[in-house]
Symmetry: C2
């Protein structure tokens, strides 16, 4: 069952060789006050502390009659946390609590209904678990006031159920992960085009439940823009919204499914918009004199409807670190020389990409290029695009390597209007700097813009600092809270695509107001009267 | 206050000259069995039957302390109905019941809060009223079990409150009507680009509350795609969702505002995406050998991302009637000759339009054209486009003229996937034919496709038949029900952009399921515990 499961203490296949940082990272580590020679390895699986599985009497047997039930050490530890910095710090240190009392693998929606019925009756909390890639505590098996907690693994629902090439939609099982989705659709000449950084493990159900955005979502649309139908199984009933165009039949309930985070129900399958598999993928680097110029260029391509499908612009700090990490190869030396010549030294690099037919990509590339040049953009050719695509899923592996070196490494993200984007960027970066400097671990804060909308764009921050040993959790909690407060003060959303989970629940009310919270509570009470679904997530103050 | 109000018994300004049908309509009338010389005029205003205003003791005074209150005959009749065929038949016959006990004009959101407080306390139903253009009974002043009913006219909230040219959003008062929106935005070089057929009277609040689609929404997006923020005032609280990009902060509650139809709260202002006012508007006619070819062409432009901003394709019947109504002018004769020559005689005509900068329109026109030609589309030049634009808001006036002639004239609309579009078209047209033929009033049923999505498209039907005198309501109710049943059987949405209101409430459960209904009821109970807001609308079984 867990053959292709990620490593319990980090990212990637359990049996993959441990990755190490490139030698070019040494100056960065030293700059953070970290000794590049030192290692802080995770404990062994056998050393992870776990409570005894403690489901109420008879529940395990009842569940086992309808579904696979696992309560061995590996299964429980694999479902004990997601992949946030908090999660990894905890697991690497050998703290497996909380872990689920059991992991239940459901084969289809009818089984999910049965499992919810059994758990509602027995007072057992249920935490839906897709790919387990949440970085906001979304799959942490909190039991709230219940007598037990199971992790409901949706990996058994991993099939392409239907595809309609004429209307460009596909029905996908909730447990299907990114690569399986593309394999199955690819056989029919289709693509979902949804490539979050967690793509290797992210599941369809998880994507929909968390309103995931992929790296090329500027062009393909976020998952919530691709949802045409959802089957949501809740303790009180089933909300089955079949393929629908946009319509005027009252409030759009698919938009309650998307972002429901396992709190309102279990998404068992989703009907998503797909596209013909692109014949051409053209990715390239561009340089801009400054972050400000690059943002203006991105605003213009987006508002003039000629945006690339993928558009990410690193700020000055991220550009400098990326160039330094790329090392001193001949091509990079040539690039540095070229940028100095063009007076872009100290500027910002963007990766932009177009996907589609040759005709379509050619046309759109020309249209984008004309606008990007208006803000003194300089094309850097295909090589930066090739390198970026090659490394597009590497960050979680690199984070493990950084953790091995005793480096705090985490990301957070937000979005706002173009009007407030610079203000928000500076406020969040400043808050992170100040908070971590106060711990005497001054950070490196990197940022990129990576999802464009007519009204605004997202900001994605990466934070690196020396770990404050023994105080890892408190150190990051202070900084994360400072960043969240800055986001709320400066008109950002508390999350552009990581979702709310456990870690953002306290900030949601500031974003949607008390009436928004009571509306979500009302929906929860209607669909899950006993409150067994994913306690402590999304809604504040539910433990 | 009502200076610019529509004629109480029909469409248009009260003092506008009565329009008559063109002479070319005579054969059509005769074909329906209608004598073109006969007239059935509406009664005079003084002859309209009204119940005495009957608000509970003291309520009128309390309301008058915070808002304007009108209970004269004109005010009450103007708010006694929307503009559906049912509404007009009733009013023209002199039946003003139900009418509101009073019309309350609110100046701002704070006044709305006060009005809701007073009415909740007094047990008086409140029907929000924007432009009064609902064609599904959405503004009918039903009182349910309450002791009175007021129509809450939002016309006093008619200002542009803010505009952000950089992020392309504007904050608009709920009572602003189409022309005022475009005037105010136009002064800043902006446009909303939202032009429903009811544009002259449709209000911002009404558009959002009903998920309105405009004629150019294929390009500009429906109103629910343009909503960036909504301020909704409900008896239990205020849901104020400020400007937001797409995000992952839980379910998207703006999607509960959109389509809430005055049942969940009163929309007092909306933040909508706007665009730079287009320098170029290029509209033209195209001909296709058949409806099927035209639909294939539309599917291709949409799925290949080169759709015009406006795209409407008439089926064979609508094309034939439009050409006949256009009459025997020299240009039309030349067109007929040309189409015969090209073997498109008996084919279908489409109107397509592009708006934007000269560069943008030129580029997109070329891309669309290449695809339209692939399905044997033939451009007919600018003249059909000019004629269509000139008459784009005429249909409601023409309907009044048809009613004067004793013709049943109504529209209904749906949408589905491309895969089921033909099946749905034939099923609905067939159901309308059969139902009206059974009344011995065989109809003419016209249809066009007018909103394109990657997954599917809308179908907009126009029905014309001889009125069955004395049985007008029953005659249409049978036919409308047959059409709705056909829609549900063949995978259509019960409404693509007319909304649910009173007339579609019984069909909503078939679309969103019992769980969907209970979710909406839960939201209603939370926001409007006393249930005073717009009884009998949206949710089935509430009278």
């Amino acid at each position: 069952m867990w053959d292709d499961a990620p490593c319990w203490s980090g990212w990637g296949p359990a049996d993959a060789p441990i990755r190490s940082l490139p030698e070019t990272a040494a100056p960065l580590l030293r700059g953070l006050g970290v000794d590049p020679e030192r290692r802080r390895a995770p404990v062994e699986l056998d050393a992870v502390r776990l409570a005894e599985p403690g489901l109420p009497e008879g529940v395990r047997d009842r569940l086992a009659r309808v579904a696979q039930v696992h309560d061995d050490r590996l299964a429980r530890v694999l479902h004990a946390a997601g992949k946030s910095y908090f999660d990894l710090v905890r697991l690497r240190a050998g703290d497996g609590i909380p872990a689920p009392d059991a992991v239940v693998v459901a084969a289809d929606g009818a089984v999910v209904e049965e499992v919810l019925r059994i758990c509602t009756g027995a007072g057992v909390a249920v935490v839906p678990f897709g790919g387990g890639t949440s970085v906001v505590g979304g799959v942490e098996p909190l039991r709230g006031d219940f007598g037990g907690v199971v992790s409901l693994d949706l990996g058994g629902m991993g099939a392409l159920l239907d595809a309609d090439e004429r209307s460009l939609v596909a029905v996908l099982g909730a447990g299907m992960r990114g690569p399986a989705v593309e394999r199955a659709l690819g056989e029919r000449g289709l693509t979902l085009g949804h490539f979050p950084q967690s793509w290797e493990y992210a599941s369809v159900g998880g994507m929909v439940a968390t309103r995931s955005a992929g790296q090329a979502s500027t062009g393909y649309g976020r998952i919530d823009e691709l949802v045409r139908g959802v089957d949501l199984v809740a303790p009180a009933g089933r909300l089955d919204l079949a393929v629908r165009t946009r319509n005027a039949a009252g409030p759009e309930l698919r938009e309650l499914d998307a972002g429901s985070e396992g709190v309102l129900g279990v998404i068992t399958q989703a009907t998503l918009a797909v596209r013909p598999r692109p014949a051409v993928r053209r990715y390239e680097g561009w340089s801009f004199p400054s972050f400000r110029d690059g943002i203006e260029a991105f605003r213009a391509v987006e508002q003039e409807h000629v945006a690339p499908d993928l558009a990410r612009l690193s700020d000055e700090a991220e550009t400098a670190v990326n160039l330094a990490m790329a090392g001193g190869g001949r091509a990079e030396q040539a690039l540095g020389w070229y940028l100095r010549l063009r007076r872009h030294k100290g500027g910002c690099v963007a990766i932009v990409g177009w996907e589609g037919t040759e005709l379509d990509v050619g046309r759109r590339h020309a249209a984008s290029e004309a606008v990007l040049r208006r803000w003194d953009g300089i094309p850097l050719g295909a090589r930066p695009g090739v390198l970026w695509r090659r490394g597009r899923y590497d960050a979680p592996y690199l984070r493990d390597a950084l953790l091995d070196h005793g480096v705090l490494a985490e990301t957070l993200e937000t979005a706002t209007s173009w009007t407030r984007l610079h203000e928000l960027h500076d406020a969040v970066a400043g808050a992170l700097h100040d908070a971590l400097a106060a711990h005497e671990t001054p950070p490196v804060v990197l940022c990129h813009v990576s999802h464009l909308y007519p009204v605004g764009a997202s900001l994605y921050f990466t934070v690196l600092a020396r770990q404050q040993e023994g105080e890892e959790v408190g150190q990051w909690r202070t900084a994360k809270d400072a960043a969240c407060q800055a986001i709320l003060r400066h008109g950002g959303t508390i999350t552009h695509h990581h979702a709310i989970g456990r870690d953002h629940a306290a900030y949601l009310e500031a974003e949607i107001g008390p009436t928004g919270i009571t509306l979500l509570r009302a929906a929860k009470a209607e669909l899950d009267p006993a409150g067994i679904l994913n306690p402590g997530k999304l809604l504040p103050g539910v433990s």
